[in-house]
């Protein structure tokens, strides 16, 4: 159950750069949204680092995440609100930095 303290928990934020040559494509997007859904927090992301003014999209929606068409070299910023916000952001940033556990291209 969601309590008031959940909602009041401080939002967490983190950013990272997409290094997959092909960008945030289907398989990584599936992994990202699946991981996001394991957290209770509301999680949003947008393309660009601090000061970017892209739209925030729901990180649990593959439709929205794919529609961003994030390419290699772009920065992603995650923002989560809820009890497990901190953990969620860390886990998602970690997933991106592990290159989504994709094997090296070749």
């Amino acid at each position: 159950m969601t309590s008031d303290t959940d909602r009041m928990a401080a939002p967490a934020e983190g950013c990272t750069v997409i290094t997959l040559p092909i960008g945030l494509h289907a398989r990584p997007s599936v992994k990202l949204t699946k991981l996001a859904k394991t957290f209770d927090s509301a999680i949003r992301l947008r393309a660009g680092g601090e000061g970017a003014n892209g739209d925030w999209v729901d990180a649990k929606s593959i439709v929205r995440v794919m529609a961003m068409k994030v390419r290699v070299g772009q920065t992603l910023t995650f923002r989560a609100e809820g009890m497990d916000a901190e953990r969620a952001v860390n886990a998602l940033v970690d997933l991106v930095e592990r290159n989504f556990d994709e094997s090296a291209p070749g």
């Binding site: 092909i22 494509h25 289907a26 949204t33 929606s61 593959i62 439709v63 068409k69 390419r71």
Partner: protein, 541 residues
């Protein structure tokens, strides 16, 4: 012992020629696409059930597939589980739209989003969305009902057949269609001719009472549906089917050869495209390009009128298929027997003589401009040609050209690459055919279906006047000869794109009239090339 039911013959009109033997597969009118739309609540639960079923089947496929296929299916499944995917469809349903139309429109919007991506990888995802769209459409339209029909055994019997249903059906499971109602000029009939699916229309309500699974002969040469055929009847038709198969095999040998008459006259044979889906499985090398694209397919899918990007994507798809061969797109030819809700006028006493074709486009410049913009943009990418339908006086052609020039200047001003394609006109109104020299078109395309109807004052789908509806009427042939003569004198191409071009009996008079370019339904390509190769030799021999 039960007596064998007596042979029963139903007579109708031939919408698409061919002969088929099979079992009656009765599809009630409420099946699939033609089912009556329910309340928003019912439509919503229809869509939700279809989505749930699609998810269940995809999950099962994911379990069964190898790692390559699995990734694609997992991506599709993830999309299908995302409420964002179907939220726009639910919204449209709440607004009163049907489940199928809403779902299709929602997915089409997503597909266009991917098609417009700069990145090849994201562009390619459009295919996943299409697959997903069709998966759910299949469930919604009851295309799944096809599953209980034996392979290649069924004769589809229904009151009518919607074009979208025709395209969704698995035609490997049906040998033909017999419709109680319908019309030979309907979009579905045109698609049946394009695909070579035998079809009869206007058989009357009694044929819908036939039992599912009853043996039947669909004779879409003479116009009969024969239920419970006797042994003698079956034998007779089996022999005819064998003859037709031999003929088709002989014709097919001409497919990959250039179309040349026995005396060496090269005739260009192009194809008519009623819907890009008819190009599936057709080798572009077997034809000289696309001679007629009926762009109505973009406008009859329900929901909003197609925007510029949607149209552009469709035109580019055709250019891409044709691989450097010319592609002629006819601007919207709505009206007459092809109404588009919200655009074509309602309650016209005689729609065939009303606001249709170019007349309608000029009356709705806001709609016409969108199409011209998309065409001007597509023209940069390949040998695109554009023609306007139902031109009656030169002033209409001039107005179309001026509007084209306007959108071109607008696009150039916006920094969008665009060019003016060759602008031709359909010759189907007798006034235009008679005064052809007054029309400054870049090319002429004779629309024989309407020309015959207007010259002989007979409707195509009225059996009572069928003998008068004759493409070989000397007045028709004279007008065709006149247009060909004008084209030859002024160096402008003249083609013919009506059903007459695909009729073997018409080829000799058309060649005699001076015609050297024809455009036919894809299914008629082999026969037309074979007729050309044999025809002249026959004349001379």
């Amino acid at each position: 012992m039960k007596a064998r039911p007596a042979e029963r013959i139903f007579t109708g009109q031939v919408a698409s020629r061919g002969i088929a033997l099979g079992a009656i597969a009765r599809r009630p009118a409420d099946d699939g696409r033609v089912r009556t739309k329910g309340s928003p609540g019912e439509e919503r639960s229809t869509l939700e059930q279809a989505l749930e079923e699609a998810r269940a089947r995809l999950s099962e496929l994911v379990r069964q597939s190898d790692s390559m296929g699995r990734e694609i299916l997992e991506f599709q499944l993830a999309l299908l589980e995302d409420p964002e995917l179907y939220a726009p469809a639910l919204k449209a349903i709440a607004g009163g739209a049907a489940a199928l139309d809403s779902w299709r429109a929602a997915l089409d919007e997503q597909i266009v989003g991917y098609l417009s991506a700069e990145d090849d990888y994201f562009q390619a995802r459009a295919a996943d969305l299409k697959d997903l769209r069709d998966r759910v459409c299949g469930l919604l339209s009851g295309a799944d009902a096809d599953a209980d029909v034996g392979e290649g055994q069924g004769i589809y019997v229904a009151d009518d057949l919607a074009p979208s249903r025709f395209l969704e059906m698995d035609w490997t499971r049906y040998r033909g269609a017999a419709l109680a109602g319908g019309s030979i000029t309907s979009h579905a009939a045109m698609l049946a001719r394009a695909r070579g699916v035998p079809m009869l229309t206007g058989l009357g309500a009694a044929c819908e009472a036939l039992s599912d699974g009853a043996g039947a002969v669909l004779d879409a040469e003479e116009g009969h549906l024969i239920a419970y055929p006797s042994g003698a009847t079956l034998k007779r038709y089996e022999a005819r089917i064998a003859t037709r198969a031999d003929e088709a095999a002989r014709d097919a040998a001409f497919l990959d050869k250039p179309a040349v008459t026995a005396d060496g006259t090269r005739v260009r044979v192009l194809v008519n495209v009623d819907d890009p889906k008819v190009l599936d499985g057709l080798d572009p090398a077997h034809c000289d390009g696309i001679g007629l694209t009926r762009s109505e397919f973009l406008f009859t899918r329900g929901g909003a009128l197609p925007d510029e990007e949607t149209q552009l994507a469709a035109y580019l798809g055709l250019l891409n298929w044709a691989g450097g061969r010319p592609v002629t797109v006819r601007t919207l030819d709505a009206g007459g027997d092809k109404p588009i809700p919200g655009l074509t006028p309602e309650g016209e006493a005689n729609p065939f003589l009303g606001l249709r074709g170019l007349r309608l486009s000029l009356a709705h410049p806001e709609v016409f401009r969108v199409q011209l913009r998309a065409l001007a943009r597509a023209a940069v990418q390949g040998p695109l040609k554009v023609m306007v339908p139902m031109v009656t006086v030169p002033g209409e052609l001039d107005r179309a050209r001026a509007l084209f020039a306007e959108v071109l200047a607008e696009l150039t001003g916006q920094g969008v690459a665009a060019r003016m394609p060759p602008l031709g006109m359909m010759v189907e109104v007798p006034a235009a055919a008679l005064a052809i020299a007054t029309f400054d078109a870049d090319f002429y395309s004779i629309g024989s279906n309407d020309l015959v109807q207007y010259v002989t004052a007979t409707s195509r789908d009225n059996a009572a006047v069928a003998p008068l509806h004759d493409a070989h009427n000397p007045a028709v042939l004279e007008l065709i000869a006149r247009v060909c003569q004008h084209g030859a004198t002024h160096g402008r191409e003249v083609s013919l794109c009506g059903d007459m071009a695909a009729d073997p009996a018409s080829m000799a008079p058309l060649l005699a009239a001076g015609l050297r370019v024809v455009s036919v339904a894809p299914a008629a390509l082999a026969r037309t090339k074979a007729t050309l190769a044999r025809g002249h030799r026959g004349e001379e021999g």
